[in-house]
């Protein structure tokens, strides 16, 4: 099969190769393991208190939950989901940066859930609330690290709740060309 059915391309893209000024400035050779280890240590030794940040993002999730509870059929479901999704993303992003990888893992499961639900119905909101309560307990309990066996159990319980939800509400197949 030939490209463009042997016709002349009409909307050519222009390709530009800018000079690599950055390479000219920094030279070659990479960074030493020692420097990278030091940088990693700097990251791991940060003493930022994650609690106020987490509270701010958890408040964001709460607002989303309230919005979802009050939403009617005419409301934009995607907007409602986004109000819960964006603070969840912040919890995922920042938990692990500030010694709470378990918050990252839990928030990641919440994002995976919110990314695929079709509507923020009451059962979905109950699940989001369970995630919210769990993350809050982890942060207030100062459970840094992965939470060990208890952390795994919490994650598994939340995951099971999501699986049960999708067994009850199987997603509608997407139309051709619709983004998955």
């Amino acid at each position: 099969m030939t490209d463009h059915y042997n016709q002349t391309p009409r909307r050519n893209a222009e390709f530009i190769k800018p000079p690599n000024l950055l390479k000219a400035k920094v030279g070659s050779g990479g960074l030493s393991e020692e420097i990278l280890d030091k940088a990693q240590q700097f990251l791991e030794n940060n003493t930022v208190d994650f609690l106020p940040l987490a509270e701010m993002y958890l408040d964001g999730v709460t607002k989303g939950i309230e919005l979802a509870k009050d939403a009617g059929p005419a409301d934009d479901a995607e907007y409602t989901i986004a109000t819960m999704l964006y603070p969840a993303m912040q919890l995922k992003a920042n938990g692990g940066m500030f010694h709470y990888p378990l918050v990252t893992d839990i928030a990641d499961r919440l994002i995976q859930f919110l990314e695929v639900i079709e509507a923020p119905d009451i059962e979905a909101v109950e699940i989001v609330l369970a995630f919210h309560t769990t993350i809050r307990a982890v942060v207030h309990g100062r459970i840094t690290g992965d939470g060990g066996k208890h952390g795994k159990e919490l994650l598994a319980a939340l995951n099971d709740a999501c699986i049960r939800y999708f067994e009850k509400h199987p997603s509608t197949p997407l139309e051709m060309g619709e983004e998955g």
Binding site: D3, A13, V26, G29, G30, E33, A93
Partner: protein, 201 residues
Amino acid sequence: MAYEFQNISILVVEDNQPMLTLAKGLLQSFGVGTVFTAKDGEEGFRIFCRENPDMVIADWMMKPMDGISLTRRIRNDPSSPNQFVPVILMTGFSERRRVIQARDSGVTEFLVKPFNARDLYRRIAQIIERPRQFVRSEDFFGPDRRRKPKTEYTGPERRANREEGGEERRGAAKATKPFVPPSAAPLPPDIRSTDSGKTEE
């Protein structure tokens, strides 16, 4: 020899102050000479225009202007001092459609949070060693969104590094891990400069 990061400046745009401090400190640990900071896309663009840094690292979700809008402005605004500047977008999102959205706005590299020091270093090294060519079409201006060479061949790559990195390999055999090489070897220039459709993301 090692990278001389003291010669470069990087602008970090992040609305979360602890994260901003952390990213700045990390870059300083790498030896970056000047790190500019901004709290949102608006301020970031002002500083970008004033200081013309060598690289921009921006968070995605910020108000009033997010990292995607900032990138579009850097690429397309007539007052932008360098439309080709590499932009690394930091975000907690890792879903494919989000990555595609970022890529389509003109972002050079994508860094998923949480990240460690080596994750950030790898993105920077990638930009230095494998810079993307730029594409200007009717509806897009930004780094070429295709990178990996497409090939039908699935057998062993017996001569993959003969032209590129041969010296590096010989050097690496002698060295006792003094330096961390960039994550990938550079592509041959002829692959990256053609419009043959033979490369893809």
